[in-house]
Amino acid sequence: MNEMIERYIYDVTRRLPENERGEIKRELEASITDMLPDNPSKQDIIDVLTKLGAPRILAERYRQKPQYLISPAMFDNYISVLKTVTAIVAVICGCLGAVLALSAGSIAKVIASGIAMAFEGALQTALWITIGFVIAEKCGYKQEWKPEDLPQLPTGIKISRSSSIAGMIMSVFLPVLFIAMIIREESFFIFVRGADIITPISQTALERFIPYLVILGVLGLVVNSFRLYWAKWNVQLCVINAIYNVVWAGVVIYALNWPDLISTEFLEYMAAIAGEADILRYIGTGALTISVVIIVIAAIEISTGIRNTWKSVRKTT
């Protein structure tokens, strides 16, 4: 047998299941020999092999079942799960990576660790989602379709997926950023008096605020998960949204009233300029103003939620 023909047959059979290789090899040998004249020239062989076409394509035709990991019917489902879950996990892992590296020293290291963890998390998630879908495919998982399964027409006030995902990302990212700054004592506001750096907010108060930041982050994540899940306003979401807004406004206003919120150095510094009594009054007014602003923002958020829910519910019924 000519070497080129052997190579051709090998290139076809190596792509096929082992138990079929022997027989298909024999068939191909016979068929190719039949297609050639007696004592074929090299050109004859080249012509016949060209006629048979690429070994990859011939092998694919010999294969009984089409080869794919995830069937076309499941593919759009797979892509949408892959995108959403991977994005969320990447952000959470990124924040986690940054937190774990907080004690490592330089900001560059913290950021690098965050990026590395985000990358690794995304890869792992993508891998496992893919494996999950492949296993479902191999097990012959088929979703029985019934007319009752049809989705509702989008009547309610829709919440875009991207805004929910952005919300989830922010709910993790901002608390982590603040906690990182607090732990590293990178102050939010600095006053420079000569060579001294004065931080208006005391470190003890900031550190005491860390658990609240965690709670707010988790709550924000929960609210946005539900926004993503329902994708439109409904009564449950309205209630959860209201609770979230009450909690964060309450927590911040509560913290504003901590007596040790303002650092003693800052108080001393300001007292020297403006007089102690006046300063305390200013701070009181400031806290009150901020509280009012917070209450207004929370109230707007809650009422927007109620209005959207009202519109959604009325449209649906």
Binding site: R26, A30, I57, L58, Q64
Partner: protein, 114 residues
């Protein structure tokens, strides 16, 4: 996609559907791959070698064809014949084809073949 490409694609699809019936109809006596290919080409059926050989194997695994190696000659050949199952299915498929072409002809009848 140009009109011609679209048409070629549609013709390929149409032809593909008729291949099994064409192959089953062409095996009246024991045939090996290449002889069948030549017979069919003589009949004007356009089929590629790289389509026919895998198709024969598939029909055999589905129990429509049975095969036997003839190693007596200098060139060993795999001869295919219709199995009982293949004969039954061929008859049914042929009837279905006639029904279908009859219906299609009725549908197309208003236009004369150019």
């Amino acid at each position: 996609m140009s009109e011609d490409e679209l048409l070629q694609g549609m013709i390929v699809d149409l032809r593909r559907g008729t291949l099994v019936l064409a192959v089953l109809s062409s095996i009246n006596q024991p045939e090996y791959g290449y002889s069948l290919l030549q017979d069919m080409e003589k009949q004007g059926i356009r089929i590629e070698a790289n389509t026919l050989y895998p198709l024969l194997r598939r029909l055999e695994s589905q129990g429509l064809l049975q095969s036997q190696w003839d190693t007596a000659e200098s060139r060993p050949r795999k001869y295919y014949t219709l199995s009982d199952r293949g004969r039954r299915l061929h008859a049914q498929l042929r009837d279905e084809w006639r029904r279908m072409t009859y219906e299609m002809e009725n549908l197309l009848g208003k236009d004369e073949l150019k």
